[in-house]
Amino acid sequence: MPIEQADVLVIGSGPAGAAVAKRLTERGAKVVCLEQGDWMKPNQYPSTQTTWEIALQRGPYHFNPNIRKRPEDYPVVAQGANPPSVLMFNAVGGSTIHYTAHWPRLHPSDFRVKTLDGVAADWPISYRELEPYYDQNDREMGVAGLAGDPANPPRSPRPTPPLPLGVMGETIGRGFDKLGWHWWVSDNGIISRAYDGRPACDLHGKCMLGCPIGAKASTDVTYWPKALKQGAVLKTRCRVREITVDEQGRARGALYYDPEGKLQEQTARVVVLSANGVGSARLLLLSRSKQFPQGLANTSGLVGRNFMLHPFRFLEGQFAEPMDGHIGPFGIPAYSQQFYETDTSRGFVRGYMLMLERSFGPLHHAWGSFVGKPVPWGASHHQEMKKRFPHLIRVTVLGEDLPVEANRVELDPEVKDSSGIPAPRVVYSYSENSLKMLGHAAGTARQALQAAGAVEILDSGVIQPAFHLLGTARMGTDSKSSVVNAWHQSHDVKNLFIVDGSSFATSGAVNPTSTIGALALRCADGIWERRREWA
């Protein structure tokens, strides 16, 4: 049943929606959140079952909604020269349910890309403005790590100490040291000590397939219990069809299908859209009206445009000694930001991060692991398998993607979800800059693995883009070149806020979740400070 008008309607319960709901209910606002997924049952996660690795290939916990096909999922059509395999999850907690929980921050230079490097756009905010919110979000989510990294501005003591590096971490660290390159132990949204009522990670691994004990910081175990205690109303299995507007062109609320499939409307003084970089753009484009025939918040024509995905590449070094990459929490044990900042002598602008990543189990190794090169079958199979398992160290390249208007999210004219709502279609091609960057990074990742003692190296080559949905409702100061302002407020619809990966003006070269949470807390404070305007 619809409830009375809310102060704030939040659409989506992932890292942004959860932070907004918690922060605003703490202040005293009446918040309703609509989430198309449901609460997950951690004791049913694949990570609890011996067949856990099968979830990497098929079934209801797969990362790709086109494969997972849960009732709450919507299909994503992919096109372009490099059609992406869009990864996301629909549930209370959103994609934090199965993210790696790597928890890096953007650099100060990431907020001034145009000024410093003459490309893309500057953000309308600075690192220093966001820094207190990074800290608050770290405390809310629970982070393990170590301050003092010379590649990043000083940061507050981490809520819990670093997770173990493992043999692989210490080995690659020696490789980086030998080359004289930067590396550091990662911040991860996985707590190494009991924290805020949650138990410490017990190092079982398999974290990307759901943490059954709540040590990984997914928002169903961090923000949401507190938000609900403070009075937030979270309505699950409620799929939003469109954001509605009143005759003055202000957001009125949202039309949604309730769990019985009946169309309802939830009204609110303020609407916050946090449905991820694909889902938020889709909903804005779906919300066409007489006042907004191009879709809501879209007089710039930029809703859905500048879709960014981080360019990735995987290199796996095979070592003579066991590296035990499958042992320990996933996250990212360590990273190098030696090549993060622009150096135009490399032939491209902006930069990338090299991440040391753990691996899944023996089945995933046999299937070809992250490089997509299966262990040979036949007479040599066992010998080859023994060379790889557990002897691999994976270095993952995560590069910065530059915004390109032609890379976009739009509505597919034919494909619809189970409620009959048009599906999003993503169109994406790698830029020349990204391809040059990936080429350079493959060389440096190879150097690092060789310096650490790898006897053979497997390279994925340029992979199908997949990770991190960014930029489709970007922040900016100019209403012609951006969708929202520095406070995530739509330039067109003053009581509509859009905060999630879609808000990113540029992508940086780090996993985005910690930034999404920080932006959401800051957005919530902005809404609260201006609350008299919404009365």
Binding site: T50, H62, N64, N66, H107, L203, G328, W367, W377
Partner: protein
């Protein structure tokens, strides 16, 4: 840049994820809702194929010796797409076998089977890849195999692995580095 199908299969998030995508979206064979279990001949052909893909040797058992056949028949009954993948591969092998050796695949010698599997891998890589991946799945989900390769599952409600706590001294060299990030004028 264009991705060929092979490139696509080899290079997404993981080979396995891409294979799943292909399986879910692009399979040439639609699963029958009531896919029949393998008949006796197919059963023997699958046994023969899986034991060439993962043969006994180097101290390890063959795929069928650890219950691989039962596993795939069970999964095939539960998931029609897998039954369809297996039947497509077995049909292809039988056709090759009849054409080249005028005999059933299961009746061939080991070198002959390897020849035909190699031909399938070369000429129909997608069909072969599904067969190979399903066989690997039937093998590496078996606790008996885990024990032999030193893999421990670590169930949720039991102790996890012992790992050396993080030792800050490993970062001594990095700590001595100058600042690497760019300062930015505020504004």
């Amino acid at each position: 840049m264009k991705f060929t199908r092979r490139k696509f299969l080899g290079t997404t998030l993981a080979g396995s994820l891409a294979a799943a995508a292909a399986s879910a979206n692009n399979s040439g064979v639609s699963p029958k809702p009531d896919s029949a279990p393998l008949d006796a001949d197919q059963h023997e052909a699958l046994r023969a194929a899986m034991d060439e893909i993962v043969p006994a040797g180097d101290g390890m058992p063959a795929a069928s010796a650890v219950g691989g056949l039962d596993y795939l028949e069970r999964v095939g009954r539960e998931e029609p797409q897998i039954a369809a993948d297996l039947q497509q591969a077995l049909d292809s092998l039988e056709r090759l076998s009849k054409s080249r050796f005028q005999a059933a695949f299961a009746s061939l010698s080991s070198p002959q089977r390897v020849d035909l599997l190699t031909a399938l891998e070369t000429n129909s890589p997608d069909i072969f890849a599904k067969l190979r991946d399903h066989v690997y799945e039937s093998y590496y989900t078996q606790p008996k195999v885990w024990k032999l390769i030193g893999y421990e599952f670590y169930p949720t409600n039991e102790s996890g692995p012992r790992m050396k706590p993080f030792d800050e001294s490993v970062l001594a060299k990095v700590r001595a580095m100058p600042k690497l990030y760019r300062e930015v004028r505020q504004g």
